[in-house]
Amino acid sequence: MAGRILPSLAAIALMALGLIHPAAADRFIVVQSTTSTQNSGLYDHILPLFRERTGIEVRVVAVGTGQALRNAANGDGDVLLVHARSDEERFVSDGHGISRADVMYNDFVIVGPAKDPAGVAGMEDAVAALARIAEAEAPFVSRGDDSGTHKVELELWEEAGIDIAAASGSWYRETGSGMGAALNTAGGMGAYAMADRATWTSFANRNGQRILVEGDPRLFNQYGIVLVNPDKHPNVKAGLGRLFVDWVLSEEGQAAIAAYRVDGQQVFFPNAGG
């Protein structure tokens, strides 16, 4: 009970101090998002364009896909933008969201140390490459955080017939952290890792790591957008959220995504309505 009273008192005190302005909560929405879109700088590019057009401020909470889904299911967000299609569809079918739509895609890559102890450089078959890494028992860093990237990685291991649980703690290392933290770790221990291309391209601390495997259709990475259901969560700003969703899927929004470059490279490919 004290846990409830305490913040109430705090909130009252804060209001008294003028630190909270309940009335100021109007023209903005909260987007629960995956980290890759934020870390790559995409939002810094497209959100000012949206704001200029509509005057609506978009506040991005960038967390793992699992946490983003959970937060949105609690109603703590107006729009969800992640990359885990089956989870997004379940989110809608459970009544938390209204209609899911494809926004854009990019792909995953397998990165590793330049000396490539497992000899996977240049391979296109991601499953075969992982099997070779497992055979060489070369260190591999996994997100291990139930994120969209992690889920794809697990599917690939399964397809390769590797029992990851048995190797966990030896050459297979689950960091339980975000994409960037996992890449920092992989760089530090000269390990392989799977990353989304957007995060990798904009990642600054590469530590001698490079892309070794790319181009496998199984490495396709689709981003989807969902409007949180206002019937379930009355506080959701459905009108403003709808404006954002529509804009992202519009010709203008899609063009803005396509125009974003990291080091001269396009890292997200719009495919709304496709």
């Binding site: 913040p7 909560a25 909260v30 960037g180 601390n205």
Partner: protein, 235 residues
Amino acid sequence: MESFWRILGEAVGLILAWDSDLIEIVGLSLRVTLSAVAISCLIGLPLGAMVGAFRFPGRTAVIVMLNSLMGLPPVVVGLIAYLMLSAAGPLGPLELLYTPAAMIIAQTILVTPIVAALSRQVVEDCYREYAEQFDSLGVGPFDRVAALLWDARYSLLTVALAGFGRAVAEVGAVIIVGGNINHVTRVMTTTIALETSKGNLELALALGVVLLAIAVAVNGAVMTLRASAVRMAYA
């Protein structure tokens, strides 16, 4: 080691450039943490003083609880605050989640037990000296607490400082309830976490250096104040 010095050099360069984003982030950090410490002191100092000065049934249990709560991991505090402030939580209608107010609340929950537990110790030491004189003068309960808080004020300043240090450096609680939203809830520690995850170690370290500088400045100011208090035998 070589890369460490290079990164440190770049960090200093970034601080010297002192751009408006950096000022905004540092400003919000201070605003959130100072507010949280102020509220924690309003609650924790009288609470600690009462536990320190009065004997009542269950007092030992209260002390054990306060001391234990001092060790609450910030992430746990963040989760508790999130579950309360979430739209699905009991305080959802306040619509405070992902605002600086939410961060202040989370840090207040984090810091209040620290302030209460440490001030309990400080006040109890002071009270051991004063108790008989207060009994003799017939000082009432309210005057007792007020007098102890006032007379231990310089030691309690150090208590507030401990709370400040804990709050300004924590990332686990504010990132959950604040959301690390650019220009809204982004503070020094969440920026450090974000920039580290982007591999921008220079910027992350630069902010770490700023954080350290603020901690040094605040500690230095308080210690100077305390030193003059010691000269006057007030501490």
